[in-house]
Each structure stands twice: as structure tokens, then as C-alpha cells.
Amino acid sequence: MIVALVAIGAPVLAALASIGRLTRFAVTALSRLLQPPWYPAQLAQQMLVIGWLSLPVVGLTAIFTGSALAQQIFIGGSRFNAASTVPAVTVIGVVRELGPVLGGLMVAGRVASAMAAELGTMRVTEQIDALVTLRTDPFRWLVAPRILAAVLVMPFLVLVSNALGVMGGWLLATQRLGFNSAQYLATTQRYLEADDVVSSLVKAGVFGFFIALMGCYHGYHSGGGAAGVGRATTNAVVSSFILILLSNLIITVIVFGS
């Protein structure tokens, strides 16, 4: 019995300790956002890296997914004589779920890995220690600007993702499925509600927070040379994927569950 309890208890304690460390890391980073000194140049650079440079991958993902979604809705809807639901279901599916989630996953793959690799390399080459000896708080200089930048730019990326996703559906529906362009757009507009857009932007901000937090946390605590940086990068991507999908479910249930 005791052996069994020990076997269960050790991983549970380790998991709780990890959650504690992560929470402390997040609170420290957020507290640095509230007090000067701030580093606006670092923030601007991160907004460029996370936002502008992610646009191509997020945009392409949205167009392809929106198009594929319209095709599948058309095929499925045709079985029930409901092919006309393509614009309505596409816009709801894209704006509520696929735009933010796929956009978040693509940004996580690009950004969380890059952050973990950069901070991890800085850790193993003692650059983070050098920052401290030069009287610069690594949380202020490295972590806080990345988290704030991700939270600020993710809603814009998701807006673009939503627009392009809907456009992808419209393009396929009008060019291949025989829909009337004006009618398609009018139906899309009629079925799109403010709540859909607001929940999408809220999700985007939350996803941005988790992406940057995971990238910074795993990179900052990286160790063990090149292999350690590799592990940190993998952990950053996997954990941000899981947190994106989990938080998406929670927000969806809260906003639309009732």
C-alpha cells in the first residue's frame, strides 16, 4: 500500500511543484510589466517578430482551412439538402474556432520554439547571468516584453486569420461550388455576431499569453547544453499546444455553453 502511494505521490508532487514554479514565473513576469524600467524597443522588436513575421504562415493556414471547411460543409450539407448553410457554418466555424485555434497553433510552432531556443541558448552560454551582472533584470529585458508583445499582437493575427479564412471559404464556394458572391457575403454578414468576434479576440489574447509564457519558461530554465535547449524547445511547443487547446475548450464552454 505504502509502495503504491509512494509511486503515485512522487509524480503528483513533481507535477504540483512544476505548476508552482510556472505560476511563480508567470507572476514575476507580469509584475515586471507594472513597474519601470520598461524596454519599449524590446517590445517593438518582439511585436515585429511575433506579429508581422507570423502573418504569412497564419494567413496561408487560414485560407486553406477556410476553403477546405467550405468544401466539407458543402459535401455534408448536400446529404441533408442543406448545402446553402455553407456561408453561415463557415463563418461561425472559422471565427469561433478554427481562426483562433489554428492561428494560435501556427504561432506557437513558430514563436514558442524560437523563444525557447533563444532564451535556452542565452542560458547555457551564460548570457542571462551576464545580464544580471550588468544590473539588468532578465524578466524585464527578456520575458515581460515577449509576453506583452504576444498578448497584444495575437488578436490582430487572429483578426487577419478570421478574415482570410472566411475569404478562403468564399473563394472556393463562388469559384467551385456555384454560390453567388453577393449572396454568400450577405449571408456571412448576417450570421456573424459580435460575440463570435469578441470571443475570438479573447481567445487570441489568452493563446498569446500561453505561447510566450511557455517559450520563455522552458527557455529560461533550459540546461544541459545543446540537448537541453532541444528539450526546452520541444517542451515549449508541446505545452503551448496543450494549453491553447485546453483554454480554447474552457472559453468556448464559458461563452457558448449556455
Binding site: M122, Q127, D129
Partner: protein, 252 residues
């Protein structure tokens, strides 16, 4: 006279491994102490404990007579303003040009800081053109010189040199050693250098301490090093494979 830095009974354990085990050492103002010892004996950990980068488990660390172990927040920041540090790999910030690396902790306008960086580049024998290069564009020796320029830029009264000549060819290593000795003498800084390189020891040190098994096992002036009869020190300075020091993980 009060030692500039004084460590008494300092202990540090990582997991099951006791790295520092009651370490005692002191450095007087303006003195250059070189700590020698095998790999993994805790030399770098000692420097990081003094800087407050690694908390100690037990003991006392005093700088100018004031206890600094356990300092936090603004007091720790103030403590660190007294130090410059040359890291083993240079630890230059990859994303910043050389001049911003050197002037990172300096106050003033960008123009003032750039000018100060170029002055410090000249001190380490590098041309002003280097200022706008990124660290990745420099050779290993140039990176070490830039790191040296960064360590002295704020004119700290105490500088730590962590393996300053590691990975450098003998000529570049000699240049770095000479620069360090010049800074110690001209700028009247207190220095602690950790190294395996006996050429560095002979050029940089006023006093030498040997760290083994978490303790200082010999400590004396450079002039007494060759006459020392401590078997560990003798094995280390002669670079012999035979003696009381065994390679970690070696078969008995």
C-alpha cells in the same frame, strides 16, 4: 586592513553533490587572486556565489566588511554595481552590436555610450570599426577582448575573470593575460581569476589559491607556488597524470 572580499565557511550543494564544503578565502584591495583547481571543483560556482547568482547553503560572504550573502532586491543590485565579470565564453549578447554590448550598463545618450564603447575597445586593442559588428562576426580572441572591454566599461572596483584564456591560441592568450595584468595594475582593481592555464597564473596572480574537494587546500603568494610542497598543488602545476588528484569518474 579589511579584506575587499572574504568568504568564510561557504558551502554549496547541488542535489547529492557537495560542491563547496566550508570554503575560506580572502582577497585584499588591489590584489589579484588566482584560483586554480581541476574541472568541476566549484571555481565558477564560487564566483557566482559572491555575485549572488547562486545562493549559498551556509557560511558568510563579506565585501568591504559587509555581509552580502542573502541580499535581495535593490540591495543585491547595489552590491553588483561593484563588480565586472568576464565570462568563460564571453557571454556577449548575440542580438546586439559590439558597442551596445560594451555600453550595456552605462548611462547616457546612445552617442555618449557609443563613444565610451569605442574608448574601451581601444583599451583592449581593437579598432573603432569593430563597434558596429555583431559578436558572431568576431573571432574567439576578439570576442574575449570585447567581453573584457564590457567587464571594465563601468570601471568597477572588483572584476572576476572566469577562464579568460580558455579556447584561445597561445599568442592570443598571452595578449589577454597581459591586458588583465595591465588593468589590475593601472585601474587598481581587485581581481579574482579562475583558470587551469599556468601561463595565466604566472602572469596575472599576486596570490594563488588551490580549490579541491570544495575547500581551499593551499593559498600563498605567486613566488611561493613553485616551492610549494603540497602534493595536490605540485601535481596540478606540473600537469602530471600521477598523484593524489584523480579524474572524476576514473577507475580506481
Amino acid at each position: 586592513m579589511i579584506p575587499r572580499i572574504e568568504l568564510t565557511g561557504v558551502s554549496k550543494r547541488f542535489g547529492s553533490r557537495q560542491v563547496l564544503d566550508g570554503l575560506d578565502v580572502a582577497v585584499m584591495p588591489g590584489e589579484s587572486l588566482v584560483i586554480i583547481g581541476g574541472s568541476g571543483t566549484g571555481k565558477s560556482v564560487t564566483l557566482k556565489c559572491i555575485l549572488g547568482l547562486i545562493p549559498i547553503d551556509a557560511g558568510s560572504i563579506k565585501v568591504d566588511g559587509q555581509e552580502v550573502a542573502g541580499l535581495k532586491g535593490a540591495a543585491l543590485d547595489a552590491h553588483r554595481t561593484r563588480f565586472g565579470m568576464l565570462f568563460q565564453g564571453g557571454a556577449l549578447f548575440d542580438s546586439l552590436p559590439v558597442w551596445r554590448n560594451i555600453s550595456f550598463a552605462l548611462p547616457g545618450t546612445p552617442a555618449d555610450r557609443r563613444s565610451a564603447a569605442i574608448d574601451n575597445l581601444a583599451r583592449v586593442g581593437l579598432a573603432a570599426e569593430v563597434a558596429d559588428l555583431k559578436p558572431a562576426e568576431l573571432s574567439g580572441g576578439m570576442q574575449k577582448r570585447v567581453a573584457l572591454a564590457r567587464a571594465i566599461a563601468a570601471r568597477p572596483p572588483i572584476i572576476f575573470f572566469d577562464e579568460p584564456t580558455a579556447g584561445l591560441d597561445p599568442i592570443t592568450a598571452a595578449v589577454i593575460n597581459r591586458l588583465i595584468r595591465t588593468f589590475v595594475t593601472d585601474l587598481k582593481i581587485t581581481a579574482i581569476t579562475i583558470t587551469h592555464d599556468m601561463a595565466s597564473v604566472r602572469l596575472i596572480a599576486d596570490r594563488v589559491a588551490m580549490l579541491h574537494a570544495g575547500k581551499i587546500i593551499w593559498n600563498g603568494p605567486l613566488a611561493g607556488l613553485d616551492a610549494c610542497d603540497n602534493a595536490y598543488v605540485r601535481q596540478f602545476i606540473t600537469g602530471s597524470a600521477d598523484g593524489p588528484i584523480q579524474m572524476p569518474g576514473a577507475r580506481p
